[in-house]
């Protein structure tokens, strides 16, 4: 068996290896965090849609993203309901309103100047709430009055939860102002709006109309279509779009209704992600952040590996003098790099998972460690170490052994 030189080198000088691992680990955590932020942007886009029950979505052709949905005539939804393939068609309202932090019990009414915050307000039908999670459906059924709201427990603390951090059971029954009217919190739900807004609440149609009085209810934001079982969504989409006319953003009056776009669930998700990740400044910042983390990571790992190689230059030069080809030296250094990457990766994954949970709780961002992130970061970590190792080897490849002693 060949002498496992790379392994021997790593296990022999534990301090040096420890320092190298710390460097690699730091770089990997940096990448993890940026990937997590970027993932949060992506998740932002789809968090609410993932909780909604629909196969096809009707929306305005000038729809931008979740918090800029624009409107289209509600009758298009009823028209769609006339299709034999459609099982159910429901309007969905979503707009930004203003929420005043509730008055705490110990503050006299005349001294309360509660902060006003922008909040996503969702309007649904309590008799048939279009949510997938069962508890969300059950709780939405409680919205029997226009004055009742459900508050998202992932709303930030500035929205005024009683315990100072999150809305929970103790906030049930609290009254405050939403838009122009008084509302009462009847329950709390877990929805999450990520980077789109700082908080969200759900009301019934009338409640939504009170919160966003500028939007008449016959102008819907989204139309949620459920198809009959066994209907192919893409075919149904074509039919529906044909029925409703081609979408156009032109404001010229037209005989044909051309103010609605029909999308499948997959298209909605893909477009929303694309919008947030590639078109909003937020998405660009974090995409850039991943690159910066990668460069910083390469710089750190290169520094660590090149110092390591420099320390053993005489020994490597001796191997070269003995007739070991550059290929062998490269293999040893690369093995060493890959081992560092793999061993450095595991604790970094654990630490990063902890940081995700911490940042998620603290900022309300949906930081989720997916297997895609784990795999991508693992590949990046190995690539980073390999490239740095190769760079560090350049000197050994180019120089005459006699100059290296």
């Amino acid at each position: 068996m060949k002498t496992p030189l790379a392994w021997k080198n790593l296990t022999y000088n534990r301090v040096r290896t420890g320092v190298a691992l710390a460097g690699v680990g730091f770089a990997v955590i940096l990448i993890f965090m940026q990937m997590g932020f970027k993932g949060a942007v992506r998740k932002t886009a789809t968090q609410i849609y993932d909780a909604l029950d629909f196969d096809l979505m009707l929306r305005s052709p000038s729809y931008l993203h979740l918090t800029e949905p624009r409107t289209f005539p509600r009758e298009r939804i009823f028209e769609a309901a006339s299709m034999p393939t459609v099982a159910k068609a429901r309007p969905f309202y979503l707009g930004l309103s203003e929420w005043q932090a509730p008055q705490p019990d110990d503050v006299p009414p005349d001294q309360w100047h509660g902060q006003w915050r922008g909040i996503i307000t969702i309007g649904v039908d309590p008799n048939d709430p279009p949510f997938l999670p069962e508890d969300l459906r059950d709780k939405a059924a409680e919205l029997t009055d226009a004055r009742f709201v459900l508050i998202d427990s992932k709303s930030k603390r500035e929205f005024g939860p009683k315990n100072g951090s999150r809305f929970g059971p103790e906030d049930i029954g609290v009254e405050t102002t939403l838009g122009s009217g008084r509302v009462q919190i009847v329950d709390y739900v877990t929805l999450g709006t990520g980077l789109a807004a700082n908080g969200a609440c759900i009301a019934n149609y009338e409640g939504f109309a009170r919160a966003c009085p500028w939007q008449p209810l016959d102008e819907a934001n989204l139309g949620l279509i459920n198809l009959r079982t066994g209907v192919e969504p893409n075919a149904a989409k074509e039919q529906l779009q044909a029925l409703l006319g081609p979408p156009t953003t032109s404001s010229t009056p037209s005989a044909m209704p051309a103010d609605v776009e029909v999308l499948t669930r997959a298209e909605v998700k893909a477009r929303e992600e694309y919008r947030w990740v590639h078109q909003t400044p937020l998405g660009k910042i974090f995409t850039f952040g991943v690159w910066v983390a990668l460069f910083v990571g390469v710089a750190i790992v290169y520094q660590v590996l090149s110092t390591d190689i420099a320390n053993m230059m005489a020994e490597y030069a001796t191997l070269k003098a003995m007739g070991y080809p550059n290929r062998y030296l490269a293999t040893v250094v690369l093995q060493q790099s890959v081992m560092l990457a793999l061993v450095g990766y595991v604790p970094s994954l654990i630490i990063a998972s902890g940081l995700y949970a911490f940042v998620g709780t603290w900022s309300g961002l949906p930081m989720i460690m997916t297997w895609q992130i784990m795999a991508i970061v693992l590949v990046l970590a190995v690539a980073m170490c390999t490239v740095s190792g190769m760079f560090a080897l350049r000197k050994l490849f180019q120089a005459d052994p006699a100059d290296l002693f």
């Binding site: 002498t3 030189l5 021997k8 080198n9 053993m312 003098a321 007739g323 070991y324 005459d400 006699a402």
Partner: protein, 384 residues
């Protein structure tokens, strides 16, 4: 009848014709120049170096530090890129050699560096094994040889120690074992005995001698250690990047022995004889060749290294063989001494090899012999 051939002005002490036989060359250096630095700072380190090393020879390179010994050694060892001139090692020209060829050649060489350069993470055994492994040596043979070499070098009880727990001398000996384990054809050693005590140093050079004798291994060693000079077959002295002398030790002593038999040289000190030997050149003759002709002017003094010659004197138109000369005997001195034409003709009987000394040099030596004689007389006379 042809005349004997002057061989490319080859000096007698080069040892090229030891026992009249040419031994294959391991290293051949021709007009080698080497420079360090670039542009303005470029400085020449080696000037027109010429050197031939034969198989199985132990060559010791001496000279003050900075004289270029190590530079020449690393060039021969393919550790530096040849810049100018020709350098042939084990039959491969290194000037312009491809990287692959150099890597292959390196596997036939053994290096012993001034610094031991052992891997701290590997034991003595594993460090030595790195060299054996590269050659794909049979595991069992490699194991035996590693154990043999380490034991031989007095490390039998430390085979599985890491360098950290070895002394400087012990580390150096591990490095020596590593340089020898793969049965290299050429060993290059830079101050191999510097870190060793006298006994271990002796053991190392004895091991070198055995390898040279038994495995035909050629050894080139840079050393300042006078204690090991006795193992050298050839001593190369360098000064300021030039090879000042390159002498085959055994051949030189043979020549000195021969010269001492000549009465006029008998009084000379060994150092003077060595100088004379240094000035002699090699000449070769085939059977029936006419070496000198009676009546010609005398230019050279001949010493027979091998073969036999007839001395023929022509008197009154009649040729008469007066003597037959053999190895260690000389002729041609009478004409030089008296500035007369040759008094006899010399014909090679067999294939012959002569070492010749020019007239001017010959006379100079005699003058020194005389002045030495006079000096001795003066010293004796001044005694009371």
């Amino acid at each position: 009848m042809s005349s004997p051939q002057m061989l490319n002005s080859l000096p007698a002490t080069s040892g090229a014709y030891t026992n009249g036989m040419q031994i294959p060359k391991t290293v051949k250096v021709g007009h080698l120049n080497h420079y360090f630095g670039e542009g303005e700072l470029r400085k020449q380190a080696l000037y027109h170096n010429n050197l031939e090393v034969r198989r199985g020879e132990i060559v010791i390179m001496t000279g003050p530090s900075g004289s270029g010994k190590t530079t020449l050694l690393t060039l021969v060892g393919t550790l530096r890129t040849v810049q100018e001139g020709s350098l042939k090692v084990l039959g491969h020209e290194l000037n312009g050699a491809t990287n692959d060829a150099i890597v292959r050649l390196r596997q036939e060489l053994g290096f012993i560096f001034q610094a031991h350069n052992l891997f701290e993470s590997l034991t003595a055994y594993q460090n030595v094994n790195m060299a054996a492994e590269l050659q794909g040596m049979n595991r069992k043979l490699a194991d035996e040889r590693i154990t043999y070499l380490l034991t031989r070098l007095g490390l039998g009880h430390r085979i599985h120690y890491k360098p950290k727990s070895l002394s400087g001398g012990q580390k150096q000996r591990v490095a020596i074992a590593r340089g020898l384990v793969h049965q290299p054809k050429l060993v290059l050693a830079d101050e191999p005995t510097a870190a060793l005590d006298e006994q271990s140093g002796r053991e190392v050079v004895t091991l070198f001698q055995e390898l040279a004798r038994n495995e035909g291994c050629t050894i080139i060693m840079v050393t300042h250690d006078n204690r090991v000079l006795d193992v050298a077959d050839r001593i190369v002295n360098m000064v300021d990047g030039r090879i000042r002398s390159d002498v085959a030790v055994h051949e030189t002593s043979v020549i000195c022995e021969f010269l001492r038999r000549y009465p006029l040289f008998a009084d000379l000190q060994t150092s003077t004889l060595t100088e004379v030997a240094d000035k002699m050149m090699v000449e070769e003759a085939q059977p029936e060749d006419l070496v000198i002709r009676q009546g010609d002017p005398g230019e050279l003094f001949y010493l027979i290294r091998s073969g036999r010659v007839d001395v023929v004197v022509e008197e009154n138109g009649e040729k008469r063989k007066v003597a037959e000369l053999g190895e260690g005997q000389y002729f041609g001195e009478a004409a030089l001494l008296r500035d007369e034409p040759r008094n006899a003709t010399i014909v090679a009987r067999t294939k012959c090899l002569f070492y010749t000394l020019g007239k001017v040099d010959f006379k100079q030596v005699l003058d020194r012999s005389k002045s030495f004689d006079a000096e001795v007389r003066a010293v004796l006379a001044s005694r009371t």
